[in-house]
Symmetry: D2
Subunit: 140 residues, 4 copies
Amino acid sequence: MLECACIHKVQYYETDQMGVVHHSNYFRWFEEARTELLEKAGLGYHEMEALGIVVPVLSIACDFKSSAKYGQTVAIIPTVEAYTGLRLEVSYQVVDAKTGDLRAAGRSKHAFLDSAFRPSPLPKTHPEVDALMRRLLVKS
Amino acid sequence: MLECACIHKVQYYETDQMGVVHHSNYFRWFEEARTELLEKAGLGYHEMEALGIVVPVLSIACDFKSSAKYGQTVAIIPTVEAYTGLRLEVSYQVVDAKTGDLRAAGRSKHAFLDSAFRPSPLPKTHPEVDALMRRLLVKS
Amino acid sequence: MLECACIHKVQYYETDQMGVVHHSNYFRWFEEARTELLEKAGLGYHEMEALGIVVPVLSIACDFKSSAKYGQTVAIIPTVEAYTGLRLEVSYQVVDAKTGDLRAAGRSKHAFLDSAFRPSPLPKTHPEVDALMRRLLVKS
Amino acid sequence: MLECACIHKVQYYETDQMGVVHHSNYFRWFEEARTELLEKAGLGYHEMEALGIVVPVLSIACDFKSSAKYGQTVAIIPTVEAYTGLRLEVSYQVVDAKTGDLRAAGRSKHAFLDSAFRPSPLPKTHPEVDALMRRLLVKS
């Protein structure tokens, strides 16, 4: 699972005047980890889009536990929690890469759509992508 | 309640290559509406920080119902759902400003801290800010 | 010219831990003002894209004179400096909306392309858009 | 010099509806490369801030040559062009990490200030930081 961790160095432009990372960036880090997970599984999200699959966010949430700061590096660990062929659910842990301190924990739900934003049941429309998603689910 | 709506014109830099507003921006819009609500109540968030109060986000979530697009304007309607003197909870509705179509609904939880990030119970530390928050809760 | 000023309230998410607006946001503000200028002239940028015209940035620059801060509002004043039918040049002044203090001054160059990113000489391809751009140039 | 290249994978949230990276992100990438250059030289920018040195951007500019896209990785190569003890000038080349294609070229100017935003002549106030900056200038 740790192999799926996405390493992200906190950037100055991600901080706000509270002196910590602005909370909206955690959702960008989730995306970074989610797309890297797909890529490591063998199918980059840009390749999914090229196949005519779009995977918008239906809902997303995050609990903030401690503040990530500039000068630190975080690891974002994504886990595929559910996959139905039409829907995907992923959870995330953001930890300090050095200390392991938990920064945040979150979860996102997604739909698989075609390029006209209609539901695209992967087992029928893209069996090879379906197989890849099932493998990701089992491994998590 | 509609008086509290924050009007936001979708900007090009808020879109992504899916052709819609990137989901992370909704959390920025929530902040825009939340801080405008405080300001209209008589105390801008920059004035709260000047008083030594910081109000970080403890948790935040959003359900996405339909896509906001470039060329559209949204109204973000914040409602104070709970206030305890130490904690604050706000919900948000994002609707298209013209059609009223629901784009997203969300919720955030916050703590009141002092500038050293220690809990700051407003009834004791800042009774005038506490009174303002109570009025906001009742009005919602 | 002042009618073209775009009013922008500084947002918390635009600040960084230096306690001022992060410089990258000024380029977003330029875009806000540039697209609002087009819209006020009668053609929103989303309508230009719908006509098959894209107007990417070829170069952009900004001199920072003083720091915009959270709690302040800025006015961004765009001026069309040059228009050739194929190229556009716009300058920007960012001033504090209350005091008039100059925050920044910038300039951007753009090309008119078709949706396949090939040059689109507006006098030939879209004479009505060409006429609008010429009027904007004269007014500035 | 290539050792100083900062490798950045294009993120989905950095794209806009033109299907390419939004131009404002290049200035964030410059910052990423500039701060990594300092860090590799032995002094992270967060350590400079801890010493009471802030280094705001006085001016910045970028020429865009070709579009970086999602699914690509870029290398940002910073070069210290000038250093006077009070001022710093850095240039940047953004190239595709695989093909070497030039995406953009830019330049930024900075001042060294103390935490009250007054000029801080490094040779007097922080000779060890001054020495490090001089080494960076020579190496470039």
